[in-house]
């Protein structure tokens, strides 16, 4: 069957159509059109929604709500989102950033999906017509998720508390060897009071670095202080092997880059 696009004004109308076999949601096109171009004939029908609400960015009272159709370029240039802009700028080149969406990034298989790594560290909430789901839960079940993502929400971090690092072999735009995002709250004595770390390319989708997080609590961000966290960083990971790097290489360099992110 040839590929065909159906356009709907609202998510509600589109959700029903999306249940049909061989149907996928079209966001920025950087995943589904790419697959069709490469000869994936499993998708014959695309669905999109033109509701302008999906492209809205709302920042109020320390809370951020990004519509699912918001692009990486829109986040990178938004004056109130400077703290998370590095994660949006890490995605693709300028043209890709004008197209790739927040919603799509949640479904991007490793080595893609750098922004979703940031969302996981930020403990974001994924919004669909069915309700709200923590991003960690959503990522785990994304392959079977059929409801259109309408938005993500999270508390806006301060520039000091949020750190993001993407490692690639080509600068300034390259595919990830790995990416790391960390949300750190420091106690008055300079020790880590709370921490969430997320990693890209260390599994087929973004995952938490739970062992490293545990190893950091109550520690100072010094080479000695972070040593236990670095030693435990690869625990529970299953890095991907692809033309960019082998699983072995990714596992070897993870502690090096996590160290740089934490000591920076």
């Amino acid at each position: 069957m040839p590929l065909a696009l159906q356009t709907f004004p609202t998510v509600k109308d589109a959700n029903a159509t999306l249940q049909a076999a061989g149907t996928r949601y079209l966001g920025g096109g950087t995943l589904v059109i790419r697959a069709a171009n490469e000869g994936d004939v499993s998708t014959s029908s695309l669905v999109r929604v033109t509701d302008p609400g999906l492209s809205q960015i709302a920042v109020a009272g320390g809370k951020v709500r990004l519509g699912a159709s918001v692009t990486m370029a829109a986040i990178a240039s938004h004056p109130e989102l400077a703290a998370i802009a590095p994660a949006a700028r890490a995605v693709g080149g300028p043209a890709i950033r004008n197209m790739a969406t927040v919603g799509g990034n949640l479904f991007a298989p490793a080595p893609y999906g750098d922004f979703a790594v940031a969302l996981l560290a930020l403990d974001a909430t994924v919004v669909t017509e069915d309700g709200e789901t923590p991003v960690e839960t959503f990522l785990a079940v994304r392959d079977t998720s059929r409801a259109i993502v309408t938005a993500v929400g999270f508390s806006l971090p301060t520039a000091e508390s949020f750190r993001f690092l993407k490692v690639s072999r080509v600068k300034p735009k390259g595919v990830s060897v790995l990416s790391i995002a960390a949300l750190l709250e420091m106690a008055a004595d300079g020790t880590v009071a709370s921490v969430r770390i997320a990693m890209g390319c260390m599994a087929d989708r973004p995952i938490r670095a739970l062992a490293a997080e545990k190893g950091l609590l109550g520690r100072k961000l010094t080479p000695q202080g972070i040593a236990p966290a670095l030693a435990a960083a690869a625990e529970g990971t299953a890095p991907i092997t692809d033309p960019i790097a082998s699983a072995w290489y990714r596992a070897e360099v993870l502690p090096v880059y996590l160290g740089r992110l934490l000591l920076n």
Partner: protein, 455 residues
């Protein structure tokens, strides 16, 4: 840009009109306006799209091919298998009498590498061709595969290519190309130090921005115009003529505009099958590699292994060099027997060494067939040689650049493959490199000349 006029001043001419002048490129105006016509910029009404069903296995016997579902698929116009190709077993260097014919246009009874073309599907749209290709059923019986050259050369290794009968190319000189110069054993016997090292490289893909492809239009007078991005127009035309058993006068090739080639577009892969499709359907045909095909299917530079054994004197003279080179041709010859031969002639590098022994092997494995790429047969060898030169210099405690001056070839020196050196400029290049890189060498080296007089 600085023109250094003091080198070879005796033969320089300063009255040249073009050399040393900035001249506009003739093709640039077309490029910057988007008007340059690449093959894929030709579009014909009723054009069919060709997609290839490829082997998912490295080595397998084909028990059966069932195209019945694909034949019936909406939009599919014609499905081609080996029996449709007039002269299915070919090799491109047959034009210069380098045989045997060892490769199939479409697999017949066996596949020898993952990605090998098995069935061609022609359809009204790319999508219909992809869907049709997905419906072709091929029943394979797995065969043991070999991916490593040393393994492939061991007795009892799986035989990759029956047309050769062994896993290496049999030259008229035997199992390898050989160069013998002086007495290498005597050279090693007199050497102060001996250093043997081995060097390896992986296949390298050219990754041109424009993928390999062609567009073919039947002209109505039993002639076919083929718009192609081949880097080897007449070579491709002649091979197509053999494969299709069609006189060359029936084939009109239009090309010369290539969106990046780097040697990756000198094999004869897309044109014969696309022209056959146009002939059998009477319709224009487009066959363009996807990016994945370009990266995985098109020939890369061969993987190589180079073992270099050198005998060197404390004063810096290399007195013996023995090189054993292995070129991984993959499953088929393509240009590799030639590249391997080029390697034999290229060693021992741009150095004059009195005792030389070279063996270079063209080895078959179940990997993607390799072929031409920028200086193939010599580039990896140069990497190995120059790393070896640095190691030798370190071994005898000599500056690596001065060490190269001592051994550099100069006009009149006899090369190992019996070609006298002429027009050498290595000494002068190194003198200039020493100057601009601020890597000083002793005055006696700066006074040297490729003419040998100054030595």
């Amino acid at each position: 840009m600085e023109m250094r006029k003091d080198y070879f001043a005796d033969v320089r001419q300063d009255g040249l009109h073009e050399i040393g002048q900035a001249r506009p490129r003739l093709d640039s105006p077309g490029h910057v306006t988007g008007k340059t016509a690449y093959f894929a910029d030709r579009n014909f009404p009723g054009m069919l799209h060709l997609k290839m069903v490829r082997s998912p296995h490295h080595h397998a016997r084909i028990r059966s091919i069932d195209t019945s579902e694909a034949d019936k698929h909406p939009g599919v116009v014609r499905v081609l298998t080996a029996k449709d190709v007039p002269h299915n077993v070919y090799t491109i260097l047959i034009l210069i009498q380098v045989g045997p014919e060892d490769e199939t246009v479409l697999a017949d009874g066996k596949v020898r590498w993952k990605g090998e073309a098995v069935v061609a599907v022609l359809a009204e749209t790319e999508r219909a061709a992809q869907e049709g290709a997905a419906k072709v059923k091929v029943d394979y019986e797995f065969l043991p595969a070999v991916f490593d050259m040393e393994e492939a050369l061991k007795p009892g290794a799986p035989l990759v290519n029956e047309y050769h009968g062994q896993n290496y190319y049999l030259y008229d000189s035997g199992e390898c190309r050989k160069v013998r110069f002086g007495d290498v054993d005597a050279g090693f016997a007199q050497a102060d130090h001996i250093l043997e090292q081995s060097y390896q490289s992986s296949p390298i893909e050219h990754a041109p921005t424009e993928t390999t492809g062609c567009v073919v239009a039947p002209e109505g007078n039993d002639r076919f115009t083929c718009y192609t991005n081949t880097q080897a127009m007449f070579f491709t035309l002649d091979n197509t003529s053999i494969i299709l058993q069609m006189p060359g006068s029936k084939l009109h090739f239009v090309g010369g505009t290539v969106g990046g080639g780097f040697g990756g577009k000198v094999d004869v892969i897309v044109e014969p099958i696309a022209i056959l499709g146009a002939k059998l359907t009477g319709r224009p045909v487009s066959f363009v590699y996807t990016r994945e095909e370009e990266m995985q299917i098109s020939s890369p530079r061969a993987a190589e292994m180079v073992v270099i054994k050198d005998g060197v004197m404390k004063d810096g003279r290399i007195v013996a060099r023995k090189v054993t080179g292995y070129t991984d041709a993959g499953a088929y010859s393509r240009h590799s027997p030639y590249g391997t031969q080029k390697g034999a002639a290229h060693y021992p590098g741009p150095y004059t060494i009195p005792n030389v022994w070279i063996d270079t092997y063209c080895v078959y494995t179940n990997r993607t067939p390799s072929s031409a790429m920028r200086g193939f047969g010599v580039t990896i060898g140069d990497f190995a040689l120059e790393v070896q030169m640095d190691k030798l210099a370190r071994l005898i405690g000599m500056d690596p650049l001065e060490f190269r001056f001592i051994n550099a070839y100069r006009d009149g020196d006899m090369k190992a493959h019996r070609q006298p050196t002429e027009g050498a400029a290595l000494i002068e290049c190194m003198q200039e490199a020493s100057r601009v890189a601020n890597w000083p060498v002793a005055g006696k080296y700066m006074a040297m000349s490729s003419y040998k007089k100054g030595a």
